[in-house]
């Protein structure tokens, strides 16, 4: 039956892609030490992936925090534990919401930017030209962007969580009138340094995944306008799914 054959073919294609991705990743890891010897390129990419994402991350963080404040307060007041708003919000944001939302936003903003840049260079023969000029495009173009993303993600995650906690506080303390001191002290009592570490590890893992997917899709895009567009779309989709799957895996490991 051709349906079964098609399904098997797409499974095979999937595994082939995963294999190619793994090889790509290993090559990037191998090249990383030499990449760090050219800080200028990496700094530029940290700027592109991180600094340029600040606006979207901070805005989203603030609003996510404020919504958590609203919803959390409403929920907790039903069971009479409004004062625990700080604890619940901090733990949720730190361990789950912060890294995951930051990663999804990152994939959308920085991931697509990276994928389309590299894809465009592929389509206009710039990567080929580099190869001919005996410059390894992996070192010159791909690696700095990968490292830029990996460095930026944990930082963005931390910024997101910090700003969103401020948003929670804005609603909980300023608006609903929870005692400020109690808000923070309850939080401090329940949050362990391991929780902070968990959030940052997730940020790092998601950063690795999203950056890898973005550079991979861009590098392997078909050298046409449609090809670049498709690669960009795939970047967002695959990064998002990967984030959620990895979230489960990392949580299960760390817990």
């Amino acid at each position: 039956m051709s349906v079964v054959r098609d399904m098997l073919a797409s499974f095979a294609g999937f595994f082939a892609r995963v294999g190619a991705l793994t090889r790509f990743f290993l090559r990037l890891l191998w090249l990383t030490p030499s990449g760090l010897r050219r800080p200028r390129l990496v700094v530029e990419q940290v700027y592109n992936a991180g600094a340029l994402s600040l606006v979207i991350i901070m805005t989203s963080g603030l609003f996510v925090g404020m919504v958590m404040g609203l919803q959390g307060y409403d929920l907790l007041s039903r069971i009479g534990s409004e004062d625990s708003l700080g604890i619940g919000a901090a733990l949720t944001l730190l361990k789950e919401l912060g890294p995951v939302v930051t990663s999804l936003l990152f994939a959308g903003r920085a991931g697509t930017s990276i994928a389309s840049e590299i894809g465009l260079m592929r389509a206009t023969d710039q990567l080929s030209a580099m190869e001919i000029m005996a410059v390894d495009p992996m070192r010159r173009v791909v690696l700095p962007r990968f490292l830029g993303g990996v460095i930026s993600m944990p930082l963005l995650t931390a910024i997101f969580v910090a700003i969103s906690l401020y948003g929670v506080q804005l609603i909980g303390v300023q608006y609903f009138g929870i005692d400020q001191g109690q808000f923070w002290s309850e939080m401090r009592g329940a949050v362990e340094i391991e929780d902070v570490r968990e959030g940052l590890i997730k940020g790092l893992v998601f950063g690795l995944a999203c950056s890898l997917i973005a550079v991979f899709e861009g590098y392997n895009a078909e050298p046409t306008a449609e090809g670049v567009g498709r690669a960009t779309t795939r970047t967002v989709v695959v990064s998002s799914v990967a984030t959620l799957v990895l979230d489960y895996i990392v949580t299960a490991i760390l817990l």
């Binding site: 206009t124 710039q126 080929s128």
Partner: protein
């Protein structure tokens, strides 16, 4: 317009010791579709060799075989004494440092300006003092007539100017081989004239070997020393422009004279015209 070609030296080219690149019996297929079936090409040192043919004959693929970006399924590709298939990654890169390539659309790096684009190979391969880099870059830009455009960005350049900058970049490392992929495509007559003049003068002044892949028959006829015509994955003709003009083969004739129909048919394969019209489906009510 004065002729740019050297004196025709007739004779069938056979691989000689002073050939800078030789392809022998090269077969190459992509997804079971054969692109080359037994290609024999010899690029002579110090001369301009043109490679022509109808669209889709794989001329760009040929260039990638020469630069080692792809490997032949069968046959050998020897460039400057080295078998491309047997080179290590470092060996391949060392070989490529002695080549320069001009891409169809220039392929300049879009995020840096003209000066930096031309300086790119220098910066990547050598640690030269800035003054020397500047001298080299400006010299090459001057050779292509664009020294004054050094600080423009690629997107501010016209097609012809971009191509000239790419040419400056291709020669900045003083290569032994220069490869031109469709250098005349999409240019106005003036730019075309400029490019033609540059190809010829660079070849002679720098003592390099040039390979020009194109289907602009009239243009290349004025500058090529030797031309190959490819069709159906093989060489169907070789010779000086004059020899080719008088070539007996029908496909060469169709190509050189730009005839709409001939060995390369006008009509894409289709069922019988009369039958198809007669049995055309009725219009839906």
């Amino acid at each position: 317009m004065s002729s740019y070609s050297r004196s025709a030296n007739g004779g069938t080219p056979v691989a000689r010791a002073d050939d800078i690149a030789v392809l022998e019996g090269v077969h190459y297929s992509v997804d079971d579709k054969p692109i080359f079936r037994g290609l024999d090409i010899a690029i002579r040192r110090g001369h301009i060799t043109a490679i022509m043919g109808p669209s889709g004959t794989g001329k760009t693929t040929l260039l990638r075989l020469i630069t080692g970006q792809i490997l032949a399924d069968r046959g050998t590709v020897v460039v400057d004494g080295s078998d491309v298939a047997k080179l290590s990654r470092n060996g391949l890169y060392a070989l490529r440092r002695r080549m320069g390539m001009l891409f169809q659309n220039g392929a300049l790096l879009t995020d840096i300006d003209v000066f930096e684009n031309v300086a790119f190979p220098l910066r990547e391969h050598a640690k030269l003092p800035e003054r020397l880099v500047s001298t080299l870059v400006l010299t090459k830009l001057h050779a292509v007539g664009l020294r004054g455009a050094a600080h423009l960005l690629p997107r501010q350049l016209s097609g012809g100017m971009a191509r000239r900058v790419a040419l400056a970049r291709a020669i900045v490392m003083d290569p032994d081989i220069l490869i031109y992929d469709e250098p005349f495509a999409g240019l106005d007559p003036i730019s075309m004239g400029v490019v033609m003049r540059l190809i010829r003068s660079l070849n002679d002044a720098l003592g390099i070997s040039s390979i020009v892949v194109t289907h602009d028959v009239q243009e290349v006829a004025q500058i090529a020393d030797l031309s190959y015509i490819l069709s159906e994955g093989q060489v169907v003709a070789r010779g000086t422009p004059r020899e080719l003009r008088d070539h007996p083969s029908p496909i060469v004739h169709q190509f050189m004279d730009g005839l709409a129909d001939g060995p390369v048919p006008f009509h894409y394969p289709a069922p019988d015209y009369y039958q198809q019209l007669l049995h055309a489906p009725e219009a839906r009510p």
